[in-house]
Every structure is written in C-alpha cells, then in structure tokens.
C-alpha cells in the first residue's frame, strides 16, 4: 500500500468521505492519541502552567481533543476543508484556520508557547505545480521560518512525520536549522518496523535544560500484539465463513429482477432496506 501523500494533495485526498473514514477509524484514533501524548511529553512544557499551543495540520481535531483534555488552549491549522468540517461537528475547543502551511503563517512573533504536529510534514515533500513557490524546499523554508518567529523564546516544536528516505530527513533538518531551530530527530522504537515513530524535536532559544530527549527503545508492540492475535484470527475465520453462506444485496436484486421478468406475482419492491446488513447477534 502506498502512502496517502503519494496519491493526491491533502486537501483533495482528505475529501468528505476520507475525512470521516479517517476520523472514525478507531485504530487511527488510537495511534493519533498515542503520538499526541508522546509529542506533549517531548514538548516538555512547565507543569501547572496554562499554555497556548499551535496544532499544525490539526485535521479533524483528534489531537486537539487531547490538548483540550490536558487543559491547553490551542489553535489549529489545516489545509483540508472537509477535515475542518468534521472538527467543527466534533465541537473541539480550539480556533481553526484553513491554511496551507507551505505558504507560511501570519502569526505575530512570540505568539505560541509550543507547537505540535502529527503526521503532517511528509505532505510538504511533494510538488503540486511547477511554480517556484510550490517546490518542497521553498515550502519547507517558508514553513519553518514563519513557525520559528511565531514561537516564544524559549519553547519547542514537536513534529511527528513519516519520512520515506534518509534524504528527506536530511532536507527537513537542514532547512529547520537554517530557519534558526536547534534540536534534532527523536526516533522511538528504531528497531521495530511498525512501532517506529520519527519525531522532529525543534528547540527555540537556549536554556540549560534544552536538550534533545532520547527516543524510546525496546519493543513495545510485541506484547500488546500477541494478546489479541488469537481472538483476531477467530473473528476473521468466523466472519469469513458467514459471508459465504449469506446472499448479498446484488444477488437478491438480481433474483428479484429475474422473477419480475418471468411475470411472477408478489415480488417485493426494492427499497433501501433490501438485503441490508443485520446487527451481529450473540
């Protein structure tokens, strides 16, 4: 399966349907939540102090919900209108902006106490048009310079992303450094293929405890995976066997059409309930 950023630009890929799907998928929710908690941990904000954060690529507010829950004030930007619509429906607390981060922010200097971004940066790595302002280095430069000025000194920005090559990491970190950021990459579970997560931990200004944190090691997923393996297998086999015995909607419609053609009387009308799914019975 190829990554979504290779299929279409974000505002098109996350249309109405995909935005809903993405938000309702419990696995996505779980991953997003985990990464948001981890990003907040890396952000290392002073405890018991209210903070004003920027959520870059807030999407439907999955990460924003956690910021609400933790008592932070936040502002979210995203380029996909459908995602923002879902966020409105979910009634998140933060202010939302329709904005292309590759075009830069217009926030005044020192506006935010920190910034997080979950699974976004990789979207900046594809050029959509041949215009010079659409090239990835130009967009990244614009993004990092305006983000740098929008952050308070000292503060941090934690950006989780999915790089597909070392060159991409190189490009992103070098541009971030040119924009004035310190810090670097934090890789969680570097030896696991699935649990591996890459965080770009950027530091603004210099204080004593501003050090790039260490990534988590070990094999977190190994234990949680095994517990569910058997049940998942059982459910899969059960659903498979059921599917074979059931006649689906197309089959029913075909049969009814056939009976009508033959002039059989009392063939039920087609409606939206024809051949609908039933709730699972235990």
């Amino acid at each position: 399966m190829s990554r979504p950023e290779l299929i279409a630009p974000p505002e098109i890929y996350y249309g109405d349907i995909e935005a809903k799907k993405y938000t309702q998928n419990t696995r996505n929710q779980q991953i997003q939540a985990d990464m948001t908690y981890r990003a907040l941990e890396l952000l290392n904000l002073p405890p018991d102090q209210p903070a004003f954060l920027l959520d870059i690529g807030c999407g439907s507010g999955l990460s924003g919900e956690i910021l609400d829950e933790q008592g932070y004030m936040w502002t979210g930007v995203d380029v996909a209108p459908s995602m923002l619509e879902v966020a409105l429906e979910r009634e998140v607390e933060g202010d939302l902006f329709l904005q292309d981060i590759g075009q830069g922010f217009g926030f005044r200097p020192g506006s935010f106490d920190g910034a997080i971004s979950i699974s976004v940066l990789q979207w900046l790595l594809n050029a959509e048009t041949s215009h010079p302002t659409s090239s990835p280095p130009h967009r990244l430069t614009r993004f990092f310079t305006t983000l740098f000025s929008a952050l308070r000194n000292p503060s941090r920005a934690v950006l989780q992303f999915y790089p597909s090559s070392d060159d991409q990491i190189q490009l992103i970190t070098s541009i971030a450094q040119k924009a004035g950021f310190g810090g670097g990459l934090v890789v969680d579970y570097p030896n696991s293929k699935k649990a591996k997560k890459v965080f770009l931990c950027l530091l603004v200004g210099r204080t004593d405890n501003q050090q790039v944190p260490k990534g988590l090691e070990g094999d977190e997923e190994a234990t949680s995976k095994a517990q569910f393996e058997r049940r998942r297998d059982r459910e899969r086999s059960r659903s498979k066997s059921k599917k074979k015995s059931l006649k689906d909607k197309d089959w029913i419609l075909k049969k009814k059409e056939l009976y009508r053609k033959r002039g059989k009387e009392g063939v039920p009308k087609d409606s939206k309930f024809t051949g609908r799914k039933r709730r699972a019975v235990f």
Partner: protein, 123 residues
C-alpha cells in the same frame, strides 16, 4: 471560531506585505457569544503577548466597550472577567478580515477563516 485571542495574533502574510499589516480589520461580521470556562491564570499569562490597542479597537468595533483604552496597571478580578469575555467568548462566525495594507480579504465561513493565498501572493 475566530476569537479575538487569535485575531490579536494574526497578521497578513501576503508577499511583501510587511508594514501596517496588523491588525486585520473585520467586515460584515456575524457574532456569536459562547460561554467558556474562566481561567484567570491563563489570561494573566497571556497579557504580555497582547497588542492592547489593537484588541481594544477591534472589541469596540465589534460592539464591546468593557475594556479601558489604556492597559491598567492594577489587575483586578473584574478586569480579568471582562478580558476573558472579549478574548474567548466572542466568536466571529461569518464575515471577512481585510488587511489594511494590501487589502487582501480573508473570508470567514462557519467560523473558519480561509488563509489560503493565490500563487502570486506567496512569499
């Protein structure tokens, strides 16, 4: 959900628009008042970040005159309450924001401002 707290941080980011690009001016706005939880610590911590004159002018334009023209030295509870109301409870639902310098218009629909720029406006 444009609240004055974010409006007060927002400047125009069109190419070569660097002077007199703050604050953006509201036009044809529809307001909605929604109550929010009062957090005096947050407001107090946010005070130094605010551009006071811009905030008061915008609040007056939107019809709220509870804030004094000069930022008071003594901060009492009533002042914080008023500030809380202006910053976090006034939501601009529809309308637009216009940059005084380059006249770029940022339309607001169902509470979300559209900050996208055309190709020639990108710095």
């Amino acid at each position: 959900m444009v609240r004055l707290i974010t409006h007060n941080l927002l400047a125009c980011h069109v190419k070569n628009c660097t002077v007199n690009n703050f604050p953006l001016e509201f036009k044809n706005v529809q307001l909605e008042i929604r109550e929010a939880e009062f957090n005096p610590d947050f407001i107090r911590g946010f005070l130094p970040k605010l551009e006071w004159k811009a905030l008061v002018d915008t609040a007056r334009q939107l019809g709220d005159t509870s804030l004094p023209t000069e930022q008071p030295e003594m901060i009492d509870d009533e002042f914080l309450q008023n500030l809380h109301h202006v910053l976090l409870e006034i939501h601009v639902e529809e309308g637009s924001m216009i940059c005084n310098n380059c006249k770029h218009e940022y339309p607001i629909s169902s509470g979300i401002p559209n900050m996208l720029l055309a190709e020639h406006e990108i710095a």
